[in-house]
């Protein structure tokens, strides 16, 4: 069967080298960018993107390069590869790499990372997102009538922390939820300071490289009076805004949270130090877990390198601390990833292929060397 010319190109070494060199440059510059701007932004710009736009420069992002790599590998195996036992290693390596790329794509688009942070004795069935937030607007309206009843409705407007300017969708949602307010300004990291003389001062703070540490600040203005309204997340602030007589809004900023299939209670946190130092030797959290359909908590210990797995969810010991009240708290990272085992299988395949190929060549080298020297 004659292979069309463009298929030949897709399976060519030229394309392979283009992919490898591009990926190398992306990784190199992405790492340098990370030192300056932090992992999250580097990931967004270089590694999780299809294209990189920087001023007038448009370049392929890592996702696009990896898509091309997948096509190149598939085309190579379909149209170019000569199947033989001698090339078994090569075949397995390429299959392994293809599955590694597939696993990577699945994780990128379908896995979900979040965090639980709770004090000893507390329990929860929700975990909060690192980078996604929501604006909660509660509308309370006094109804006319003798019984003085109130109507209450709630709107949630999600947004992502890294957005430099919030999109039109956000403004639209805001208008629906609270027509009296207009978004004037949005800061990715900021806080409202209440001063005794100058009154309320909103201040943009330096962007933290660890992006999950940033907390947004909103400046709204009243459409009628042009009066400014400030909202941040400091101390879980809830802003009360009276739009008119009998119409009151409560606004708050919070991290987006999602429900877990289990209820988790933090029973105990332990931290072992190396003697005479403040260097931690080990962290561990003892938790009680109430699974779906069960009415009994079961004890589980989570420590460094020993996570707790439940269905597609995995819970990891992330950090430990003592809060201002002197109560110990623990943070557990939560990852939902149904394709968790794909990289394991893919890595195994690739390493197996590499080992077969290397050993075959090594034996050939010995044979050649001995024959050569003997002659």
């Amino acid at each position: 069967m004659k292979v069309p010319h463009y298929f030949k190109y897709l399976s060519s070494f030229k394309l392979t080298l283009f992919v490898l060199v591009s990926l190398m440059l992306l990784v190199f510059f992405g790492t340098l960018y990370q030192a300056e701007h932090g992992l999250y932004l580097a990931q967004k710009k270089f590694f999780d993107s299809l294209i990189i736009i920087d001023g007038f420069l448009i370049l392929p992002g890592a996702v696009l390069i990896m898509c091309i790599a997948f096509i190149n590998l598939s085309a190579f195996l379909c149209f170019k590869f000569k199947y033989s036992w001698a090339k078994l290693g090569i075949l397995i390596i390429h299959l392994g790499l293809m599955s590694l790329l597939l696993g990577g794509f699945y994780t990128l688009y379908f896995s979900k990372e979040s965090l639980i942070s709770f004090r000893e004795g507390e329990q929860t069935n929700r975990s909060t997102d690192y980078y996604k937030w929501q604006l909660r607007v509660i509308k309370e309206e006094k109804l006319s009538g003798v019984n003085k009843a109130k109507s209450r409705s709630e709107s949630l407007i999600p947004f992502e922390i890294d957005s430099k300017n919030l999109d039109s969708h956000f403004s639209l949602e805001l208008k629906k939820a609270i027509p009296q307010l207009k978004l004037e300004k949005y800061y990715r990291n900021g806080r409202v300071f209440e001063t005794p003389f100058a009154g309320i001062i909103p201040k943009e703070l330096e962007l933290n490289k660890e992006f999950e540490q940033n907390t947004p600040l909103f400046i709204f203005s009243d459409t009628d009076t042009q009066e400014k309204v400030y909202l941040d997340n400091f101390d879980y602030r809830v802003l009360s805004y009276e739009a008119s007589e009998g119409l009151n809004y409560q606004l708050s900023l919070e991290r987006l949270s999602s429900e877990l299939p289990v209820i988790i209670r933090l029973d105990d946190v332990k931290r072992d130090l190396h003697p005479n130092t403040q260097v931690a030797k080990a962290y561990a959290s003892t938790i009680s877990v109430l699974e779906e359909g069960s009415n009994k908590f079961r004890k589980v210990e989570i420590s460094m390198n020993k996570p707790f797995r439940y269905k597609d969810y995995t819970f990891y010991q992330a950090s430990y601390g003592i809060d201002t009240d002197g109560v110990e708290f623990s943070s557990l990272a939560v990852v939902k990833n149904a394709g968790r085992l794909v990289p394991y299988i893919a890595s195994f395949l690739t390493v197996l292929g590499l080992a077969i190929h290397f050993i075959m060549h090594f034996l050939k080298f010995i044979k050649y060397q001995r024959a050569d020297l003997a002659s």
Binding site: L17, A35, H274, P343, F358, H361
Partner: protein
């Protein structure tokens, strides 16, 4: 031949022996200490301290044991010795000290400018660490070293004889207290209850009050000093006996902290270890080695009892002492160099001279010996630390050096012996010689680089929680390091290839056979490097998935490993596609080594990511110099090759 072999070896070993320490210093080096979370012999502690202060293990003809013993028991005697390494002359100008050509300064010299330095350090510390200039960092380093030295010099001040105390107390008072000779602060504190009685009595009341006041003010001064400079963290040799019953507290105290902490304890309990310290100090004064040894043994027994809940501390401490005395890594470095020199010197003899063959074989034997010693050094570290010895830059270089030597040895063993003609029975084949040369050179160079990191302090530090996983540390890091070794060795062979290639071009000699051999070795090493770097990276991914919940997170260290994988893949695919030939493969292999170095050091220099555990100062200049030199070498080789080709046509 055999005699010559052993003679040279003995000579070599004795050359590298540390200067003989006194018997007391030797005994003192066996005492157990808790430092940075690890139980170790004072020997290791003393070595790391002298390295930290001066960058050397010997000063003024004394080895580190002797120097440390004097620092603890007779500090005044070394105040004028030049031990503080100061690289930046701006520091000296600031504190008004004259620049010394050896860049080392005494405690007495620094003491004159310490107040000025204190102010400079305060303003430097007001800035975040990343924003400090090199001079400011040097201010802080010198100041910290000065204070640590002061703390160590005062660690036994409680037990040292003070002429002032002796003159204050009259003979009458001394005899009433049952004291004689020169007095130490502790000997008086020990008699506190008797002194109290004398203060109440009439005839010696005035003298007793005066003495009591002196003791009180001294103790208070030291307490203040202790609070100010956190003396409790320095020189923790005494077990915290107050909690031995529970067996949960494994802390040790320094003598001053012990004295301070035990105030609330009953007298007998309080003095149990302090009296041993006093006896130790007195045995030092009396140069009584026998008593000194007995006290050290007694103190160690008490310490081991205190930490009996920990497994096998004593054999590990003894092994560490043996390791320090044997110095297997330092000696193997010297032997690799020796093997290299032998091989090079053999080239000066005529090709069929018997002496040349002997030298070559001798070189091979020395290489083998170096390799065994190197391996035993690594094995000792594994046993001492109960973990894989690859958790800091020093250890990784030592390990990669070992793997490089191992690879060279394995290749040399796969080569068939040459034919049994008169000359060849004695000789090593060219290929085998190449292997010895490569193995010795790479191991020597990597060990030389590793020795630069010894001054960073204890090279056997305890691990932080996330690294404390023996399985993953052993598999992931070791595989990764084996990958580094493969690619680095390929780069080294690449250099030899290019040099030989150019030599062939200029001399118009046909050296195709050996070039062919080198080419195959480069490909083999790149393949080996790719296999192990990939394996290591994937194992790292699995470890990350187990610990942090993600297989791949674009962390700088992961990216560094990925760069190596990508570059080796580029090299192999370029060759397969026919874009590069043998010469190109050699050039690409050298670039591969540059990529390895960027990956190895680059992450630490960036100082970001989950892997940046040990940020190392001053590496950037060295790394950039290395990269620049390699770049010039490659460009030079390409230009010369083109030039010669044009000349020939």
């Amino acid at each position: 031949m055999k005699r010559l072999f052993f003679l040279i070896l003995i000579l070599l070993f004795s050359l590298n022996l540390p200067a003989k320490a006194s018997a007391i210093a030797d005994e003192f080096s066996k005492l157990l200490i808790l430092d940075q979370g690890r139980y170790k012999p004072i020997d290791s502690y003393a070595k790391s301290k002298l390295l930290q202060f001066s960058g050397k293990t010997k000063v003024n003809g004394k080895n580190y044991r002797e120097w440390f013993t004097e620092l603890v028991f007779n500090p005044e005697s070394i105040y004028s010795e030049k031990i503080f390494l100061i690289n930046n002359p701006e520091v000296l100008t600031a504190i008004n000290v004259e620049v010394d050509t050896h860049r080392r300064y005494s405690y007495d010299e620094l003491r004159t400018g310490i107040d000025v330095l204190n102010d400079l350090v305060k303003s430097a510390e007001a800035k975040p660490e990343k924003e400090r200039s090199l001079v400011e960092k040097e201010f802080v380093r010198v100041f910290n070293n000065f204070h640590e030295f002061t703390q160590l010099a005062n660690s036994f001040s409680l037990f040292q004889r003070k002429p002032v105390l002796t003159t204050i107390a009259s003979e009458n008072l001394k005899s009433s207290l049952g004291l004689n000779g020169e007095l130490s602060l502790f000997s008086l504190i020990d008699k506190a209850s008797e002194l109290e009685v004398l203060i109440r009595s009439s005839n010696l009341k005035e003298e007793a009050v005066k003495l009591g006041f002196v003791i009180f003010s001294w103790v208070e001064t030291y307490k203040e000093y202790l609070n100010l400079f956190r003396l409790e963290e320095v020189f923790a040799i005494l077990p915290n006996i107050a909690v031995t019953e529970s067996k949960t507290n494994l802390e040790f105290y320094s003598p001053w902290t012990y004295f301070h902490e035990m105030q609330s304890q009953p007298a007998s309990y309080k003095l149990i270890h302090l009296k041993s310290c006093l006896n130790l100090q007195n045995a030092y004064y009396d140069k009584d080695t026998k008593s000194f040894r007995a006290i050290v043994e007694k103190m160690n027994t008490a310490s081991y009892q205190h930490i009996s809940s920990l497994n096998k501390v004593r054999p590990k401490i003894e092994l560490e002492l043996l390791h320090n005395r044997l110095q297997p890594l330092e000696r193997s470095q010297l032997l690799y160099l020796f093997s290299l020199l032998l091989l090079i010197s053999s080239a000066f003899f005529t090709p069929k001279a018997a002496f040349r063959f002997n030298l070559e074989k001798f070189s091979y034997l020395v290489f083998l010996l170096a390799f065994l010693l190197h391996g035993s050094g690594i094995l000792m570290r594994i046993l001492i630390l109960s973990r894989a010895p690859v958790s800091n830059l020093y250890e990784t270089f030592v390990f990669v050096a070992f793997i490089s030597a191992l690879l060279a040895l394995v290749i040399s063993m796969t080569l068939k012996k040459v034919k049994n003609t008169l000359s060849e029975t004695l000789a090593l084949s060219e290929e085998k010689k190449s292997c010895v040369f490569l193995g010795s050179l790479s191991a020597f160079m990597l060990l030389l680089i590793s020795s630069k990191f010894v001054t960073d302090g204890d090279s056997m530090k305890v691990l932080i929680a996330v690294l404390d996983s023996n399985f993953w540390l052993s598999t992931h890091v070791i595989a990764e390091m084996m990958g580094y070794a493969g690619v680095s060795l390929a780069g080294l062979i690449g250099h030899l290839y290019l040099i030989k290639f150019l030599r062939g071009k200029f001399r118009r000699n046909a050296v195709t056979e050996s070039l062919k051999f080198y080419h195959k070795l480069i490909l083999g090493m790149i393949g080996f490097g790719l296999c192990f770097t990939f394996l290591g990276t994937m194992l790292g991914g699995i470890w990350a998935d187990q610990s942090w919940g993600r297989f791949w997170g674009w962390d700088p260290k992961e990216n560094g490993a990925l760069l190596i994988i990508l570059w080796t893949a580029i090299t192999l695919h370029s060759r397969l596609a026919g874009y590069i030939k043998d010469f190109g493969v050699a050039v690409f292999s050298i670039i591969g080594t540059m990529v390895v170095m960027i990956s190895w050091f680059g992450v630490n220099l960036l100082g970001v990511g989950l892997h940046s555990y040990g940020f190392t100062e001053g590496l950037m200049v060295n790394l950039l110099t290395y990269l620049g030199l390699e770049f010039l070498f490659i460009i030079g080789c390409i230009v010369l090759t083109k030039y010669q080709s044009l000349k020939m046509t």
